[in-house]
Symmetry: C2
Subunit: 348 residues, 2 copies
DNA sequence: TGACAAATTTGGAACGATCCAATTATTTGA
DNA sequence: TCAAATAATTGGATCGTTCCAAATTTGTCA
């Protein structure tokens, strides 16, 4: 049933021209006569010809219009949005993406990179799995394939990097909680051994120090960067001898978990406890209470990353640049900002 | 800087054998002598050779190890999980995926399909955008490329299909609410003009009829299949002359929105109003109250879809089959099941 | 040692498109 | 009308791999 595919030669024969002419038509070259072009195009439609990009890419000059995207956790809506942002840009630029989920496994990530290389990607955007080393990206750089690392950076790797200003975002968020009258502010959720975590904690610490407040280590409660992790973290936080009255959470998922945990403990987020998230995922706005959070705009970040990569692909040369994407605190209800002082109950 | 790539011929020359021998080594053919194999492999490592799959796929017999995946909305965690399930299977089977987000646009979907075809995909899994027609998939089928449609079906298209038992799931859910004593049960959220919606509403309707209860059209309140849509739907539901006391929601996202909306209206989901979702996304378990929902296991569905496709790809022939994946009601707190009768307040 | 089989190795022709240099067709100008 | 300029078309080599048929090496046995 699988009739052998139609090629330029078949078109050429049917249209009574040479394969070279067909090729020129395919590239909509101005060299070919209008009448001929029309005839060839008609034949193409008629025979149901499908262009074979693989064959075209074989010529050494050509660069494939395939780019690779590797994401560490696609089930996390932050990364899903990031991928969607990239997809938008790539698609309108006429590229297709190999998109893979490393699920935080460096081994899997290595395999995927190797496979993508064999398929001749023109560039790679990677949100690296935890534990990714510069050597994992070395071979790509060596063969001149542009790489953009997003969200997390890979120390020692000479690749372009795009991440959000975690430090400033965390600092702003904590300052805001301090302005609202909070004095004991915890940092909840997230996996401690990561750059992003360290940056956010540092922002938290410095904001507290600035205000002359203590930043005890007991108030930094790591867990997973998920809803379940948030529940666990707030549980531990509330059992401290001097429990906090507010918290900056590692990300929105953890913040939602913290809200859940607060309710289980009979406290209403926003009224009895200030909660601030990080990322500003779509649900943050519609949740109840609406989540105060540091907006990172993952989709926008994905778009920017894609543009960075395409710039390098088109330039044909790799010049690593690092861009720190600025963030902005979006004040909603979960921090308690909208409430009158008597309604908010913080035993400060 | 971009040194011309290393090819089998380079390896052959360096190792002092012919390119044919190198090719045999690459395919780990038993024909080649162990000593030679070792020598060639050493040279391959030494020169940093990268296999060029594009060139290999050029030979007509070969089928590419690339499959396409198109998803209608990757920002929806249900579909993200679906994609992750597929990714798992494909990756361990040695395939790479082109993954694209159609964002519910048939035009974009058409472009992506065309592009994937030009890149020579061996098969396609698609969760079709709304409004997808059989003609959109026709060319693929015509060239013998297996297609599996998931979640939604495409009427008239002769492709394999995998979807969940929406009817039975909805029916079970509503029966359960009836058993809990509810008499006015609404159907909230979702876009009315879709097969999935119709199937779920039919389940809802039949369960009510079975119990001799009315299923007035005013109790079916469509909106978007999102959190925001859920909020809007419950608002309208509560303003009905005889407001419902419980609802089956189109999906979990809408169900979360319904919970949010209930709280805004001063009602506690689970206690004052029974809420049941559909899909069982990860957050359903950890939310407060934990969401009672019809478990669809999107990741598992993704895995099954991938297996269905690979089976066809390997068999080399396309024999459309339809699989209805069974679902199961997971009872948690949001329906009010765990509460004693006096705690639950339904004015039945 | 020679004949034959088995084990290895190897040119060269594909695969489908591109691109260069060369050829042929059509205009243009005096 | 003819040479020169321009427009349009075309063979053939090439990209990196596979695969066939044929050639070469090695091994076995009488």
């Amino acid at each position: 049933m699988n009739k052998s595919r139609v090629t330029v030669v078949d078109i050429a024969r049917a249209a009574g021209v040479s394969k070279s002419t067909v090729s020129l038509v395919l590239q909509s070259s101005p060299l070919v006569n209008e009448t001929t072009r029309a005839k060839v195009n008609a034949t193409i439609r008629e025979l149901g010809y499908v262009y074979n990009r693989g064959a075209a890419n074989l010529r050494q000059s050509a660069s494939s219009r395939i780019i690779g995207i590797i994401v560490n956790d696609l089930t996390n809506s932050f990364f899903a949005e990031l991928a969607v942002g990239m997809d938008m840009v790539m698609q309108s630029a006429g590229y297709v993406q190999f998109l893979s989920n490393s699920a935080e496994s460096v081994d899997r990530q290595r395999e995927v990179i190797a496979s993508m290389r064999e398929h001749g990607i023109a560039g790679l955007i990677i949100s690296p799995a935890r534990g990714t080393e510069a050597s994992d990206l070395k071979p790509l750089a060596a063969s001149g394939i542009p790489v953009v690392a997003v969200v997390r950076n890979v120390v020692g790797a000479k690749v372009s990097t795009l991440f959000s200003d975690n430090y400033a975002g965390a600092k702003d968020a904590v300052r805001h909680l301090i302005d609202l009258g909070h004095r004991r502010i915890a940092f909840l959720g997230g996996i401690a051994n990561t750059t992003v975590f360290a940056e956010r904690v540092q922002g938290w610490r410095d904001a507290l120090a600035e205000a002359g407040l203590g930043a005890p280590d007991s108030c930094v409660i790591g867990s997973t960067a998920s809803r379940a992790g948030g529940v666990a973290a707030i549980e531990r936080a509330l059992s401290l001898p001097e429990p906090p009255t507010a918290a900056l959470c590692f990300n929105d998922a953890a913040a939602f978990g913290v809200c859940d945990g607060l309710r289980t403990a009979g406290k209403e987020p926003g009224r009895d406890f200030g909660v601030v998230g990080f990322d500003d995922v779509i649900e943050a706005e519609t949740a109840v209470p609406a989540l105060t959070t540091v907006s990172v705009d993952p989709q926008g970040m994905g778009r920017r990353a894609a543009q960075m990569l395409l710039k390098q692909v088109n330039a044909g040369r790799v010049e690593p640049e690092t861009i720190v994407s600025s963030v902005r605190l979006v004040v909603r209800q979960s921090c308690g900002a909208g409430l009158k002082d008597k309604t908010r109950r913080i035993s400060a």
